[in-house]
Symmetry: C2
Subunit: 167 residues, 2 copies
């Protein structure tokens, strides 16, 4: 099953982690690969506790799409290589967190992402791709697409991100 | 912070559990109260593993909104009573999973839900309400509302729900 969580609302990464948690309830093997993110999050710590294999490929600064750093490109490329390795091991579930952003910002190519999807299908691995701006050709390959639509957002009211809720 | 995850797409309960996981990464106290659901899920098992206090108030059969069973009404009422108790303990986060459905199907009242929100605000408890058909007056009280919009759904293609992904 290929699943895409996209849209401008909150809940994309959270949903993916919620599914990971569910899979771990049945002791299934789960890998999470995070594009652009670091280990300094509650989701990282809790995933480790649940026996999820989680790896981050980011820097302290978030990806600047208009002017991506060479280091961000290098890390995204490394993440794709690692994803191939991991899917080949045939776990139950692989989450490619924020891969849509990496693709949108051209850190990785269309062909690389389509190859990952194809490989997951061949190996019968469930794959979740998260992040805004999911490409139409990615949605086309998916079995399930949910768009998280922002109806109301606390940051707009000036409420800052909360540790333990937002990261 | 009052958070609502609603809409017809997949990812509402998953998102809530993802946030719970994040909170547990920082060892924060989390309670999950599930309306209409049973313990027989991966999310239940994994939540227990993460030290989340989770309680279910459902039966094997899902709520029939047109003709709700007396037992479903009784359980939903019990869940509301328990929620008051729990919020009064001032944990970091309380998740009222599928409460929007319980309200939509009239198992519980508008006033009961508004009272829970008010109590959470007074006690500075983060509250997540999930489920389709969130009422406008619930959204109005929320700081964050995401609508999960179904773009593509595997059940429509005849793919059945998957253990470890969907429950």
């Amino acid at each position: 099953m290929i699943i895409v969580y996209t849209g401008n609302g909150k809940g994309k990464t959270s949903s993916a982690f919620g599914v990971a948690l569910r899979a771990r309830g049945y002791n299934k093997k789960v890998h999470i690969i995070q594009f652009g993110k670091t280990k300094n999050t509650g989701e990282y710590k809790a995933a480790k506790k649940l026996g999820i294999d989680i790896k981050t490929f980011g820097r302290k600064e978030w990806i600047d799409c208009n002017n991506p750093k060479q280091e961000h490109i290098r890390l995204a490329q490394e993440a794709v290589k690692y994803a191939v390795e991991v899917i080949n091991k045939k776990p139950f579930l692989v989450i490619l967190d924020e891969i849509n952003i990496a693709l949108h910002c051209k850190l990785i190519s269309k062909q690389e992402v389509l190859n990952l999807i194809k490989l997951a299908n061949n190996k019968h691995v469930h794959l979740i791709l998260t992040g805004r701006y999911a490409k139409p050709y990615v949605k086309r390959e998916a079995d399930l697409v949910t768009e998280m639509k922002e109806v109301k957002h606390p940051f707009r009211k000036g409420i800052p991100a909360v540790r333990g809720l937002d990261w």
